[in-house]
C-alpha cells in the first residue's frame, strides 16, 4: 500500500480522501471539546469510514428519510435553543455534523464536494468556539494541510472535467500521473506557507474586541473538590500524573526539582464514622477574605514574607474550589481573558473559610493569590488559653465511639501541654512511630484505631485523621484539610502540581493565629511519587498545552502591544549593537558576522550541490561560445518575431522561420534570412559569431519589424 502510495494515486481517489481528511480533522477539532454528544461521536466516524465502502449502494437512495431526519433534528434543536436548554453554537455544530454525515453518504457531484469543504470550514470555526485545548491546535494543523490538498485537488478535478471530453477527463482522473508524492509534498509545503502567513496575521491583526453577541458561558453548579473522605476504601492509591495546577511564584523558590509546598483546597470537619465530610452550613462566609489574625499580623510586620502565586487551575480538577498556597490568603484576583466565553468570576467563602468561585466554566481558571506566610513564633502561641470562638465548635466535635486506646494515647501525648506543643507532639509521634503505605486498609469498624494500634501503617488521610481525633479528644480544635502537596518544575517555566500530588493534612486552631497547618504524614509519603516515562510525557504535553494557551488562546491587546514592542526593541538593539561602539558590540558584530558567514556557506554549498547534480546529468552536447551565442541569438530573434506577428515555437527551424516571415512579414524577411543563416552557420557550420555581429543582426531585425 505504501509502495502504491509512493507511486502516486489517482486524482479522483486523492481528491476524495483529502476532502474526507479535512472534514475528519474539522470534526475532531469540535470533538475535543467533549460537548458534541456520544451519538455524533459515533455516527460521524462511522459515516466517514463506511461511506467510501457502501456509497455506491446507498448514494441517492432514501433521500426522503434523510430529509425527514435532518428536518426533525432541526426542529428539535431549534426548540431546545429557544427553550434555553441548548447553546446555539453547539446546536449549529451538531446540525453541521449531521449535514456532513448526509453528504458523505450521498457524495456524487461537484456541488457535494464543495459543500463538504464548506462544512469542514464551518466545523473548524465551531471547534474554535467550543474548545481552546492544544488538541484543537493539532487538529487545526492537520486541517490546514488536508484542506489545502482538498481545495487544490478538487479544483483540479473539476477543471479537468470542465475542459476535457468525458473520455479524456476519465483517463486523466483515473491515471496515476497527476497526483504524485511530489505534488502532495508541494501542496503540504504550500499549506505550511499558509500557516506562517496565518501566524503573521494572527500576531499583527489588531485585537479590538467589540464584545457584542457572545456565546453564553456554560456554567455548572459548584460541586466542590471532594466534599468527603472515606477511610474504608480498598486497593492501592494510584499515582496520576495529570496536571492540576500550573503555578508561577513570586518570589521564586530556591532552585530545586520539586516544590515543598501545600496547596489548600477544603477543610473537612464532620466525622462520619468512616471518614470526614464538609460542614453543611453553606456560603456563610461572604465574598471577602478575612483579615490577618492579630499574631499573624504582628509576625508579618516583623518579617514580611508575602507570596504571590499566579495559578492556572486546569479544567476538570479544581471543580469550583479556589486552591491557595499555604499561608493566609490576603488577596485573590481572577484573570479575565479576552475570550469568547469569558464571564466575570466571583469569589465565595464558606462558613469554615474554604474558598470557592462561580460560575464554574468548562475552561481553565486563571487567578493570582497573594498569601502572607509569616507565622508567629511558638513562644507567642503558648499560653493563649483554651477558650475558643463558637465558629470552631465543629472542630472540637469528638467522634461518639472513640476507642479507649485512642483516648489513652491522646492523653499520653498531650497531657499537661500547651495546645501548640500538644499538636507538635502528636505530629512528631505520628511521623516517627507509624509507617506510610499507599495500600488502603479496606473496610474497618474503626479505621483510626486500626491504623494506630493494629496495622500501624497507612496513607496521608489516615495520618491526618488520626491527628485530628487525637487532638479533639484532648479538646484542641483541629480539622482535616485536603489539597495537594508539592509541584515539579516544567520546561515551560512553571511549577506543575499533579493529580497524584493529592494530600491531606491537619489545621489546628490556635487563638490569635487562626488555623495553623500541621502535617503528620512522613515526608516520604507526601505528594506523588511517579517519576516514570508516562509522567514525563504528561508533563511535556502539559508544557505544550500551557504554551499554546499563553501564546495563542490568551493573546490579547496587551500581549500584542508587548510582542510588537519586543520586536521593535530587538531590531533596534541589533542595529545599535552593530553600529555603536558600546560594550559588547564587537562580540555581537563578530557573532553576526559568524552567522552571516554560516548562512553564506550554506547557500554556497546548496549552489555547488545543485551545480554538481546538474553536471551529473547526461549531457547532450557541449557547445562552444559561438554556438551558445547563436542559440541565444535565435531565442531572442524568435521572441522578437513572435511579438512581430510571426507565429513561431521552439520546434520551428530557422529555415521554416524564414518561410513564415516571407508570408507574414515580407518587410522583415531579408533581416530574418540574414540572421537565420548566421545562426545556422555558427551553430552547425563551425563559423564564428562574434557578439558584436549578433547584436547588429538583432538590431537590424528589430528595426525591420518596427
Amino acid at each position: 500500500m505504501i509502495a502504491r502510495a509512493l507511486r502516486g494515486t489517482t486524482l479522483m481517489t486523492a481528491q476524495r480522501w483529502a476532502g474526507s481528511l479535512a472534514l475528519g480533522a474539522a470534526f475532531a477539532a469540535c470533538a475535543v471539546s467533549g460537548e458534541l454528544g456520544s451519538a455524533l461521536l459515533f455516527l460521524f466516524p462511522a459515516a466517514l469510514v463506511a461511506a467510501p465502502l457502501l456509497q455506491r449502494r446507498i448514494a441517492g437512495r432514501y433521500q426522503w428519510a434523510w430529509t425527514g431526519l435532518l428536518g426533525l433534528a432541526m426542529i428539535v434543536q431549534g426548540a431546545q435553543v429557544v427553550a434555553g436548554r441548548l447553546d446555539i453554537v453547539l446546536a449549529a455544530t451538531q446540525f453541521a455534523v449531521l449535514l456532513a454525515v448526509h453528504r458523505l453518504w450521498h457524495r456524487s457531484s461537484r456541488r457535494d464536494e464543495w459543500f463538504l469543504l464548506l462544512l469542514s470550514l464551518l466545523l473548524i470555526c465551531a471547534g474554535a468556539a467550543l474548545s481552546a485545548e492544544l488538541l484543537f491546535g493539532l487538529c487545526f494543523l492537520l486541517y490546514s494541510v488536508a484542506a489545502t490538498w482538498a481545495l487544490a485537488l478538487t479544483w483540479l478535478r473539476f477543471e479537468i472535467e470542465a475542459a476535457r471530453s468525458p473520455e479524456q477527463a476519465a483517463a486523466l482522473l483515473q491515471g496515476r500521473r497527476l497526483v504524485t508524492p511530489a505534488v502532495l509534498f508541494a501542496l503540504a509545503a504550500l499549506a505550511l506557507v499558509g500557516l506562517l502567513g496565518s501566524a503573521a496575521i494572527f500576531v499583527a491583526f489588531p485585537r479590538v474586541t467589540l464584545g457584542g453577541l457572545r456565546r453564553a458561558s456554560s456554567a455548572i453548579p459548584i460541586a466542590g473538590l471532594g466534599d468527603q473522605i472515606d477511610l474504608s476504601r480498598h486497593g492501592v492509591i494510584a499515582d496520576d500524573p495529570r496536571v492540576v495546577l500550573r503555578v508561577r511564584l513570586d518570589p521564586p523558590p530556591a532552585p530545586a526539582a520539586e516544590l515543598p509546598m501545600r496547596w489548600r483546597a477544603r477543610a473537612l470537619e464532620v466525622w462520619t464514622g468512616r471518614g470526614w465530610r464538609a460542614r453543611p452550613e453553606g456560603w456563610g462566609g461572604g465574598t471577602w477574605l478575612p483579615p490577618l489574625p492579630r499574631l499573624r499580623l504582628a509576625a508579618a510586620r516583623r518579617h514580611a514574607a508575602p507570596l504571590v502565586a499566579d495559578i492556572e487551575a486546569v479544567s476538570g480538577f479544581s471543580d469550583g474550589v479556589v486552591l491557595t498556597p499555604e499561608g493566609w490568603p490576603t488577596g485573590i484576583t481572577f484573570q479575565r481573558p479576552l475570550a469568547a466565553r469569558a464571564s466575570a468570576t466571583r469569589l465565595l467563602r464558606a462558613a469554615n473559610g474554604d474558598l470557592f468561585y462561580t460560575p464554574v466554566d468548562v475552561g481553565d481558571l486563571h487567578y493570582v493569590v497573594r498569601t502572607e506566610r509569616a507565622l508567629p513564633e511558638p513562644d507567642e502561641l503558648r499560653g493563649r488559653g483554651t477558650r475558643y470562638p463558637p465558629e470552631v465548635a465543629a472542630s472540637l466535635e469528638v467522634p461518639a465511639d472513640v476507642d479507649p486506646r485512642v483516648r489513652s494515647l491522646s492523653q499520653r501525648l498531650t497531657e499537661g501541654k500547651d495546645p501548640v506543643d500538644a499538636a507538635a507532639a502528636v505530629e512528631r509521634w505520628l511521623i516517627q512511630s507509624l509507617a506510610y503505605t499507599r495500600e488502603l486498609p479496606g473496610e474497618q469498624k474503626d479505621p483510626i484505631a486500626h491504623f494506630l494500634f493494629e496495622s500501624r501503617r497507612g496513607h496521608c488521610e489516615l495520618f491526618s485523621s488520626a491527628m485530628v481525633v487525637l487532638l479533639r479528644v484532648a479538646s484542641i480544635p483541629a480539622r482535616n484539610v485536603t489539597g495537594y502537596y508539592g509541584g515539579v518544575r516544567s520546561s515551560a517555566g512553571y511549577w506543575a502540581v499533579r493529580a497524584g500530588d493529592a494530600h491531606s493534612w491537619v489545621e489546628v486552631y490556635l487563638p490569635g493565629a487562626g488555623f495553623v497547618p500541621f502535617d503528620p504524614t512522613p515526608p516520604s509519603g507526601r505528594g506523588g511519587v511517579d517519576r516514570g516515562v508516562w509522567s514525563a510525557v504528561v508533563l511535556a504535553w502539559d508544557g505544550l498545552a500551557q504554551r499554546w494557551r499563553a501564546l495563542v488562546v490568551d493573546y490579547d491587546l496587551v500581549s500584542q502591544q508587548r510582542t510588537l514592542q519586543q520586536i521593535g526593541r530587538t531590531l533596534g538593539e541589533a542595529g545599535r549593537r552593530l553600529t555603536a561602539a558600546r560594550p559588547g558590540a564587537p562580540e555581537f558584530r563578530a557573532a553576526a558576522a559568524r552567522a552571516g558567514a554560516g548562512a553564506l556557506s550554506i547557500a554556497l554549498l546548496v549552489v555547488l550541490l545543485r551545480r554538481a547534480r546538474r553536471r551529473a546529468r547526461p549531457k547532450v552536447a557541449r557547445l562552444d561560445p559561438d554556438q551558445r551565442r547563436a542559440q541565444a541569438l535565435w531565442r531572442r530573434a524568435r521572441d522578437r518575431l513572435e511579438r512581430g506577428g510571426v507565429s513561431l515555437t521552439a520546434a520551428v527551424s530557422p529555415r521554416e522561420a524564414i518561410r513564415r516571415t516571407v508570408q507574414r512579414r515580407p518587410d522583415a524577411a531579408p533581416a530574418v534570412e540574414q540572421l537565420a543563416f548566421a545562426v545556422l552557420a555558427a551553430r552547425w557550420g563551425g563559423e564564428r559569431l562574434p557578439a558584436a555581429r549578433a547584436r547588429a543582426l538583432l538590431r537590424e531585425l528589430r528595426r525591420d519589424l518596427h
Binding site: 470550514l121 474554535a128 468556539a129 490546514s144 502567513g197 496565518s198 491583526f205 495563542v552 506577428g645 508570408q663
Partner: protein, 332 residues
C-alpha cells in the same frame, strides 16, 4: 496556414501589470465566509477564530502569488488551420510557452476574447521553459472572413477561488470557405477534347515533337535508341508540349442573395473542386471578378477564397468566361 487569410497583425505591447481579477462562485462564498469569520473573531475576541481567519487570509495571499507566478512569463501564439469550411469542425491550435527559468505554470486556460470566434484550451502544467500546444474545435456557421482579436491567458490555480487573467492582443484573420456539398451532376456546356491536347510546341508531354542530335549532359532517357542505331550517333527526342483541359466555372450572382446565393456559391465551389480533382485547369468567373485558369493546391485555395468572400452584386458587370474553356455555369 491559410494563405488566403491576411497576415496576423503584430501584437501590441501589453503592460506586464495588466491583469483582470474576478471571483469564482466558490471564491465569492470563500470571501463572504472570511468576512463573516473576521467579524465573529473581532466580536468575540476568540483567538482561535483569529487563527482560522489568518489561515483564510493567507490562503488568499498565497493564491494570488501563485496565480501571478503562473501567468508571468507565459507567451501564447495561435496556429490557425490550413483551411476551414462552413459546417466542418476545424482545429485552432494555441501554443503556450513558459519563458520562466524555474517555476512552472499551472492550470492555464487559453481562450479567445473578442473577435468572431470563441474557443478555449486548458494547459494543466507547463514546466519551466516548456512549450505545449492545445487546440479547440471551431465550426464556422458562415463563410467569409473571421476575425480573431485577443487571446486571454487565465488561471484559477491553485484553489479555484479567483480567476486572474491577462489579455494578449493577438489579432488574426481566417477565411472560411463555403460549405462542402456534393457537386451537381452538371457537365461542361462546351465539351473540349477529353484529356490533354497537343499545342504544336516543344514541351514535356508524352507525344514526340521532333528528333535532333543528343546534347551531352542530357538525361539518357531522352535518347531515341532506334534512330540512334540507324544514324550511328545519339539522337535525342523533343517532346510535344501538352495543354490540359480547361474549364471555367461561371457564377452570376447579380440576382441572388441570402440562402439562394449561399447555395449557388456552395455549388460553384463544389464544381470548382471537382474539376480541379479531375485534372483540369479551372478558372472562375463571377460578377466583377475572375480567377485565371490554373491547377494545384495554391490555385484551389485562391479559388475557394474568392468564393468565400463573394457577396451579392446587383450592379456589377456580368461574368466573362474564359474563351476556349468549357463552361460550367451555376445559375442561382
Amino acid at each position: 496556414m491559410n494563405p488566403a487569410a491576411p497576415a496576423a497583425l503584430p501584437a501590441r505591447a501589453v503592460p506586464a501589470w495588466r491583469r483582470r481579477l474576478t471571483f469564482t462562485r466558490l471564491g465569492r462564498w470563500y470571501v463572504a465566509l472570511t468576512i463573516g469569520i473576521g467579524l465573529a473573531a473581532i466580536n468575540t475576541g476568540n483567538n482561535l477564530l483569529f487563527l482560522v481567519l489568518g489561515l483564510l487570509l493567507s490562503s488568499i495571499v498565497v493564491s494570488g502569488l501563485l496565480s501571478e507566478t503562473s501567468l508571468r512569463g507565459v507567451r501564447v501564439t495561435r496556429r490557425l488551420p490550413a483551411s476551414a469550411s462552413v459546417g466542418a469542425p476545424a482545429l485552432v491550435g494555441l501554443v503556450a510557452r513558459n519563458g520562466k527559468a524555474r517555476s512552472p505554470s499551472v492550470g492555464l486556460e487559453l481562450r479567445e476574447k473578442g473577435g468572431d470566434v470563441a474557443g478555449h484550451g486548458l494547459v494543466l502544467l507547463l514546466g519551466a521553459g516548456q512549450t505545449e500546444e492545445v487546440s479547440y474545435r471551431f465550426t464556422a456557421e458562415r463563410r467569409g472572413l473571421h476575425r480573431f482579436e485577443q487571446l486571454e491567458v487565465a488561471t484559477r490555480a491553485p484553489f479555484g477561488l479567483f480567476e486572474k487573467s491577462r489579455p494578449l492582443p493577438l489579432p488574426a484573420e481566417l477565411v472560411v470557405f463555403p460549405r462542402r456539398v456534393a457537386a451537381p451532376a452538371q457537365q461542361p456546356r462546351q465539351l473540349a477534347r477529353e484529356g490533354e491536347r497537343a499545342t504544336g510546341r516543344a514541351g514535356h508531354g508524352l507525344e514526340v515533337h521532333a528528333l535532333r542530335d543528343h546534347r551531352s549532359g542530357e538525361d539518357a532517357r531522352s535518347i531515341h535508341w532506334r534512330s540512334s542505331a540507324r544514324a550511328g550517333k545519339l539522337i535525342g527526342i523533343d517532346r510535344e508540349q501538352e495543354r490540359r483541359r480547361q474549364v471555367c466555372v461561371v457564377l452570376d450572382q447579380r440576382r441572388a442573395s441570402g440562402p439562394l446565393l449561399e447555395a449557388a456559391v456552395e455549388q460553384a465551389a463544389a464544381l470548382f473542386e471537382r474539376e480541379l480533382d479531375a485534372g483540369a485547369d479551372v478558372s472562375l468567373a463571377v460578377c466583377g471578378d475572375r480567377l485565371a485558369p490554373g491547377s494545384g493546391e495554391r490555385h484551389r485555395l485562391a479559388g475557394l477564397t474568392l468564393l468565400a468572400l463573394l457577396e451579392g452584386a446587383a450592379d456589377a458587370p456580368a461574368p466573362v468566361p474564359d474563351s476556349g474553356a468549357s463552361v460550367l455555369e451555376v445559375i442561382p
